[in-house]
Symmetry: C2
């Protein structure tokens, strides 16, 4: 099957070369996803990891200008080659490679925006190593938002039919209550609603919104943010035609008592993600909503301690690739 | 089988007579649990509910002084009779019955302390109705702690093999960070550890402690409570011989990556209970640790909207009875 006969390929960035990202990408070789994916990294990184793990690998250089030109053998991966200044050493990220890693992301995003790629899938990077290189960097999501001029990226985690979006992400718990304003909450819900329609193809999404406080504040006895912030935001959006339910107690929102919403919006990280990771351990996918491109990601880090050992589970990357293809309509 | 041939019976308070509590108790009739339970309520409440639901019921008066004296027919329930001043109307709690309800709890606790009963199981009450009667009341747990002179009751939720304890319970989210002091945390862990040993029979409990902040603070980048409060408390307790792991990110603590701890200690309500309710919907049990008696409870409220309809699911009450019997060694 020639590439030209199928949809646009996915751009898959291999992430931190000292982490598990490269070996997760190797797991694509030999699967049906190999022909639908282009790995963005230094070919030497993939070759070295394949050798270390005793795997055969044929790297085929991919040219976005001639997508159908190169055949892919059974043990092959298409690679859009970059050069890392320094060889990768498993478990020991090198700040000297940080700038090249970010270049890889730029190449991938440009390719998505130009239409060379159908979607972006990212393997994990090591935030602290990029900072050690003197580059201010708070995470993939924020970097991609900046690259694409996205004012408000929204984090959505997906595990099977369970979808959990976050109204706030990586904040100390003490900063959460003040962060949740009616304006921010409204903007997050609008992005969630728009992308459930545009990317997930759900015509009239049913969204459950959690309260901020336990028991959703219990009529003001356990906090007033529901009454003063969340309920007014929900009311205004419902009046504009959105199908929202809430604020619901978070310990009800994920149970059968809440029905089967298309997504649950948690107010903060640890209100929503423990359930998601419990339900979908090893196959959860992170989707960034609000971007002009489809972007999915694994739900785990670089796992430096097991990089190169062959122990890494590629379940989340495979799920991220599969979901990216689905969202891109590929 | 005469009662004298089995262990001490469980005291089961039927809870708010206008709620689903009475019909949950009816579900015990005809099961093996009927001979091991004594319902504490007004017999008229049970009779009226049975009639409304078209169920046969034989109420047999129970005398704690003569536990083996009364035979129990197949459709019977032992009842330690109280009198409610006013008849119950499904869905409409009456503050006139509030004092009698609390008397029922006192009778049950006294019976447990005297050794007449092996444990206490509580059906739900309506906090606001008790307050409407002019009685200050913040919940079953606090009331039972006061009755038994317990300085620090600890809430543990159980669903199958998953056990989740809470370091703080019904507080607005904004009040949580300041509430979690090293002293409180230490005291909660000591109660949890002691009761996992004494009541659950786990000789050397393995406890996972969650961080307060997302990613357990990510080395101070997302909050410093882990470094300043939680880690020192854990270190001191580990030095004293306890088997504690953490602080772990809450979205790791409930996954296979955290192993299979005997309990997870969440720092606050919505960090721990969404997972527990997701995992154990309809069969979760609330256990109050730290009391001198065994007390379990359903994990839901009075459900006034469906009281008397026959729709209430008795799964949680049956699970609460079963767990109480187990913890009491019955």
């Amino acid at each position: 099957m020639a590439l030209t006969s199928i949809s646009k390929p996915l751009a898959v960035t291999a992430g931190e070369p000292a982490g598990i990202g490269p070996e997760l990408c190797l797991a694509l070789a030999g699967t049906a996803w190999a022909r639908r994916s282009v790995i963005i990294t230094d070919p030497d990184v993939l070759h070295a990891r394949a050798e270390r793990l005793g795997r055969r690998l044929c790297v085929v250089s991919y040219d976005p200008a001639k997508p159908g030109s190169a055949a892919l053998p059974a043990d092959g991966l298409w690679v859009l080659a970059q050069r890392m200044p320094r060889p990768a050493v498993c478990g020991h990220p090198d700040p000297a490679n940080a700038a090249a890693l970010l270049d890889g992301l730029r190449i991938a995003v440009d390719g998505c925006l130009k239409g060379d790629f159908g979607a972006l899938v990212t393997a994990p990077i090591q935030k602290s190593t990029i900072n050690d290189a003197g580059i201010p960097f708070t995470g993939h999501t924020e970097f991609l938002a900046e690259l694409t001029g996205t004012p408000l990226p929204v984090m959505l985690l997906v595990a099977g039919t369970l979808r959990v979006a976050l109204a706030s992400t990586h904040l100390p718990l003490s900063a959460v209550p003040a962060y949740i304003t009616a304006g921010r909450l409204t903007a997050v819900i609008e992005v969630l609603h728009a992308d459930l329609r545009a990317k997930f193809g759900i015509a009239d999404p049913d969204i459950v919104v959690c309260g901020l406080n336990p028991h959703a504040g219990e009529a003001g006895h356990l906090g007033r943010e529901e009454i003063e912030v969340i309920e007014p935001a929900i009311r205004a959006l419902c009046a504009a035609g959105l199908k929202l339910r809430g604020p619901l107690p978070a310990d009800t929102a994920f149970t059968p008592a809440a029905g089967k919403p298309d997504a649950v919006l948690a107010m903060y990280h640890d209100q929503g993600l423990p359930v998601l990771k419990y339900a979908g351990f090893g196959r959860a996918v992170n989707v960034t909503l609000g971007l002009p491109i489809v972007r999915t990601s694994v739900d785990h880090g670089t796992a430096l301690d097991i990089a190169g050992s062959g122990k890494a589970d590629a379940g989340s990357l495979l799920a991220a690739v599969e979901l990216a293809a689905k969202l891109a309509g590929a």
